[in-house]
Chain length 402, copies 2
């Protein structure tokens, strides 16, 4: 097998990492032929061969010697234009852009099929943990019950600093940014969008069903306060930002992203700092847990390179589960038990709990704990986005186990 000639789009944190790692591998299957960047003038942290940089995408897309496009740019719209152009020309693509992939997955699958080419994106969905490929290949049966985990290294790093090290939220966010863990726009991480996009990607490989991210509730950690942290501590738990897709029965599943009270003894309790951790639960194999670095230049670069190697072996996702008989349907008609902090003694107008089990009012803050349907929360998402409101889930699915 010949070495792959890569056309790389993007030379930020991850792109630089890919370049650095490729230089270090002795038995590399690939080399970078051309790098497309937004601006040729920017100073680069590594020295590059002359003429390798270009600001014209067509220098890569029209080069017949390029046999793999690697796309690691920030902008989801530009990424989609590049990736779909490459696929239409029959050039296989490796991408780490979760927002782009989660939004355009049906079209990207269609393009792969009609143009007989492949798009790999394991790097998009959990840093260095090979979740997608394992769901696609190894857990390819009906017995999968749940995939649940911490999918965002940046928000997890922040929560670890705040929770375990007593730092302020602002300091922790700044530190995450400095270490290269946070995306260009931090709201992507801390508002739960990054986790949401990863969850949508995981869901199609876990269950075989595409769910539009706009139809899924994602609550973030940006409004967490000392009051909430104290509450969690009093209960002996940590707050983690958790994404989950759960099969409720043979015909229905649900998915959402929400901060969660995580008790010691749960696998994800010890997933700290920039690490990601994913629990896969099945009928027969019970629980599997995978754990690895979820953010940072080199771990992400290394997982992009695993996709590059997979392309070297002509690997492609087959999306087998999408053609299974009797696929379950997404529902938000499911009851959650949540903690809701609200600024005034009364609940925000519009939010109605099915059952209130705790209600606390004080000068420092007010909260309600009780049962409410995911549908009701989705319908009132704007109220949950209020900076004075914080919502946190009590795990209910497979309670005794995870």
């Amino acid at each position: 097998m010949n070495e792959l000639n890569i056309g790389l789009f993007g030379f930020g944190t991850v792109g630089t990492g890919i370049y650095t790692v490729l230089e270090r591998i002795r038995n590399a299957h690939a080399s970078i032929k051309r790098i497309c960047v937004r601006s040729l003038d920017r100073k680069r942290p590594v020295s590059l061969p002359e003429g390798i940089l270009t600001d014209n995408p067509d220098d890569i897309l029209n080069d017949p010697e390029i046999d793999l496009v690697v796309e690691v740019i920030d902008n989801a719209d530009a990424a989609f234009r590049i990736v779909s152009s490459a696929l239409r020309r029959g050039i296989p693509v490796v991408s780490g852009n979760k927002a782009m992939i989660a939004r355009h997955l049906p079209e990207l699958i269609y393009l792969q099929r009609t143009h007989g080419t492949a798009l790999l994106y394991d790097a998009s969905a959990c840093g260095s943990i090979p979740v997608i490929r394992n769901l696609e290949e190894y857990y390819d049966n009906d017995l999968l019950l749940e995939v649940k985990g911490i999918l965002n290294g940046s928000s997890n790093y922040i929560l670890s600093r705040v929770f375990d090290h007593g730092e302020s939220y602002a300091d922790a966010l700044e530190k995450a940014r400095r270490l290269g863990f946070a995306e260009a726009d931090p709201s992507f991480d801390i508002k739960g969008f990054d986790s949401l996009f990863k969850l949508v990607i995981i869901t199609i490989h876990a269950i075989g069903v595409y769910v539009n991210p706009d139809d899924v509730l994602a609550c973030g950690i940006d409004s967490i306060s000392d009051f909430d942290i104290r509450y969690a501590r009093e209960k002996g738990t940590k707050i983690k930002l958790v994404a989950q897709v759960v099969k409720l029965d043979n015909s229905r599943f649900t998915l959402f992203v929400m901060p969660e009270f995580v008790a010691p003894g749960k696998y994800i309790y010890n997933v700290d700092d920039e690490y990601n951790g994913v629990v896969i639960r099945g009928e027969c194999y019970d629980r599997q847990f995978m754990f690895g670095k979820g953010a940072g230049s080199l771990p992400t670069a290394s997982s992009i390179l695993s996709d590059v190697t997979a392309r070297h072996h002509n690997y492609r996702y087959k999306y087998n589960k999408m053609s299974y008989d009797g696929l379950p349907e997404y529902t938000d008609d499911v009851s959650l038990r949540v903690y809701l902090r609200h600024p005034k003694p009364e609940l925000p107008h519009g939010i109605v709990f099915d059952k209130v089990s705790e209600s606390y009012v004080s000068d420092l803050g007010c909260y309600t704990v009780g049962d409410i349907s995911l549908a009701a929360l989705r319908a009132n998402k704007a109220l949950l986005d209020d900076p004075d409101v914080f919502i946190c889930n009590f795990p209910r699915f497979f309670l005794d186990l995870d």
Copy 2:
């Protein structure tokens, strides 16, 4: 793609599990056409269609409708005869027999290549954790530094009962057997052979080099005593049976199986009961940790079925790393720090430490802690097998990290 017609060899714990799980999967890719057993008279725990059982291997091997052999029998020699016959006839095989695979790997690879067929054995090397396929596909580069873990569910279960629940070793062993966690011959588990065979299989997929199991030191837990347990507890550690393959530099690696003092905070510290846990360490991705059930009928059956599904997609191991340039060589010229309990105040004759750092003599027992080379331990393996001797490793590689 058509459904695979399976010829199943063996209908013990795992074989029955496979049958049970296949019945439960709605979108199964395979069905069992014929089952070859040693004795037709034995009572079976599940009811079977008439005529499905046979005691003649040729009823499967000569059946042109069988397109996959699944081999889950205990006897390694019989397993090798069946598997090699099937491969010679071009029939792909899924096997869970680690002893057979570890001993015959070079020949099995040769047979796969010359007969253009495939042998999959992910189930052999860590119960339900997809270690082999991940090493083969995902970590296919030069940057892998170490694979280390608890590979034997049975001995880990026993150590958990003894260590965390204060049970006697004999009671714990009996319980493991009753729960179906122990192999037919428990010495396979408790003397470290099972871990050794798995480690040999892992090594070829991790490093690209086959090492004959006879050339690798494997020490078990069968001679552990209350004295050793007390010592470990005083140091704030647990004893686990750990298998590891470690790259020492670009040209050398080592591997061995030995009980190890595991401190809290290490990933494998919390791998208890029948679980397996594997840490994969690389230059860029740092540490990855995978965790799952390592013993029991259904978890093993479920991982066999993942291999069956992989065959349905025509997956095969490519053993790419074996053809890499500059493969490292196995060495036992490496210094370990060990705890050695011995029956008399003086060290067993023949065992010479390079450096003794602790030496303890009492009526209850004697031990020496110090540095000794792996080669010296291998040369004196017979002394280590004395039931009054127990050896336990202090982790030295990548000390600060795992």
